[in-house]
């Protein structure tokens, strides 16, 4: 029973609560680092390492960190681990370090990491937090690699730098460039909306503040707006139904 619970914490991040495709967090690296599979893979691994380490530390310190200054504390912990990853990559993988450029440092402000610290690590014990970090990190990695595969195979006719014989002659270079990132991400989410589990009320994917770590600070400006919007759209749906019923009755 207990093992099952731990397994579910780990697996949740992979599919059901995939940070990128379901929670829509960490969009910046998702779009920027998926032009090639290698970049996506290294980004995913770097972020997973930082996520697991920071989750463990934050969870271990959860009784010491005062509630009022918790966000700056989390940022310091995360920035520390990002610096460690930066130094390690600079030393052992200089090519990848160059390729990732500023995005490596920007793992600090990746919403997924701060979001998991805020939503999970500060309420749970060290082992659960580590598993949650690992699951979420792998979910992030999975989404990045899936997107990068689509973009690289169709856009450059290669996979992780290895050329694919036939596709290589019919590439769509735009997919590896900036507009392709938005396009593939949009289509991927649309496909998941379409084929995803429909049981229960699967909420319409808006860009929400739900998982955003700064939501508590900002007073949920855009969330409040989203709520308004759904409230407005609901009656519309009802009226449509009524109209349809009316038509059916008329017929």
């Amino acid at each position: 029973m207990k093992k099952q619970k731990k397994l579910s914490i780990l697996l949740r991040g992979l599919i059901a609560e995939n940070p990128v495709l379901v929670l829509v967090l960490g969009t910046c690296p998702t779009l920027a680092q998926t032009g090639s599979v290698i970049a996506a893979l290294s980004m995913g691994i770097a972020a997973t390492v930082v996520l697991v380490c920071s989750n463990v530390v934050i969870s271990a310190l959860r009784k010491i960190i005062p509630d009022t200054v918790r966000i700056p504390c989390y940022i310091v912990v995360i920035a520390g681990f990002v610096t460690i990853v930066q130094l390690l990559m600079h030393a052992y993988l200089p090519d990848l370090y160059e390729m990732m450029g500023v995005y490596l440092a920007l793992i600090v402000v990746n919403c997924i990491i701060l979001g998991r610290a805020e939503m999970f690590a500060r309420k749970n014990n060290v082992i659960d937090s580590a598993l949650d970090g690992l699951g979420m990190g792998l979910g992030f990695l999975l989404a990045l690699v899936a997107m990068a595969t689509i973009r690289e195979v169709l856009g450059a006719g290669s996979f992780a730098g290895i050329k694919i014989p036939f596709l290589q002659d019919y590439t769509l270079p735009i997919l590896t460039m900036a507009p392709g990132g938005f396009l593939v991400f949009g289509i991927l989410i649309a496909v998941i909306n379409k084929i995803g589990p429909k049981k229960g009320a699967q909420k319409r994917k808006e860009f929400s503040c739900e998982g955003c770590p700064s939501a508590a600070l900002c007073g949920k400006v855009s969330c409040a707006e989203n709520v308004e919007l759904t409230e407005i759209t609901k009656p519309e749906i009802v009226t449509n139904k009524e109209e349809k019923e009316g038509e059916a009755n008329g017929n």
Partner: protein
């Protein structure tokens, strides 16, 4: 020549290297707060303002405090400085310019974890800009962000009125629209170079 360089940095930041549409930095506010025109412009102005403040603070820190010996502390120091700065700006605005605080205040805490602000601070250092060049670069990037937000708010208001298939409603159609806007910005590549003869 000097002015030409500054102008080049400024215009490149606005059009060619647009952070949102070409470099994918600051996507969260771009997608989250671009529903209404006035919110989008408020957010854009707040980001530009914070970028300028952040550059004005981080550049001297990097030059005179971190130097080359402590360069590995760059990430930690920059994010903390920006977080503290945003809080400070908020308090100052609240105390002295309440009208401005009322219009920008809600956006300020969101900006702390905006990767565009940290990104521009780090990029200015890696590009080896002087202080003045850094300020112009930040101004350009900020204006570029504002431009993208405002343009996109217009696009989104049109999308809201269009019936679209259920699966692509919400985020997917927004991203696809962003893709088209981003494609439009490709048109600026090379224009600035030719304009200034560089």
């Amino acid at each position: 020549m000097e002015i030409k360089t500054l102008l080049y940095i400024l215009l490149t930041g606005v059009f060619v290297n647009n952070y949102v549409l070409q470099k994918f930095l600051g996507i969260c506010p771009f997608l989250g707060v671009s529903k209404k025109f006035d919110q989008a412009s408020g957010m854009g102005i707040a980001v530009t303002f914070v970028m300028l403040c952040a550059t004005a603070v981080t550049w001297p820190i990097n030059e005179y405090v971190l130097g080359t010996d402590l360069a590995y502390l760059q990430t930690i120091v920059f994010i903390l400085v920006i977080a503290a700065l945003v809080q400070f700006v908020e308090i100052v605005l609240k105390r002295f310019i309440p009208a401005l605080h009322k219009s920008l205040g809600v956006y300020l805490p969101l900006i702390t974890t905006n990767c565009a602000v940290l990104g521009v601070a780090i990029n200015n250092i890696t590009d080896g800009y002087s202080f003045l060049e850094s300020m112009f670069s930040s101004l350009g990037v900020g204006i570029g962000f504002l431009l993208a937000m405002v343009l996109f708010a217009g696009v989104r208001s049109r999308i809201e009125n269009c019936p679209s298939p259920k699966a692509i409603q919400g985020l997917p159609i927004t991203l696809i629209a962003a893709s088209i806007v981003s494609l439009a910005f490709f048109g600026f590549a090379g224009v600035i170079d030719n304009l200034l003869g560089m």
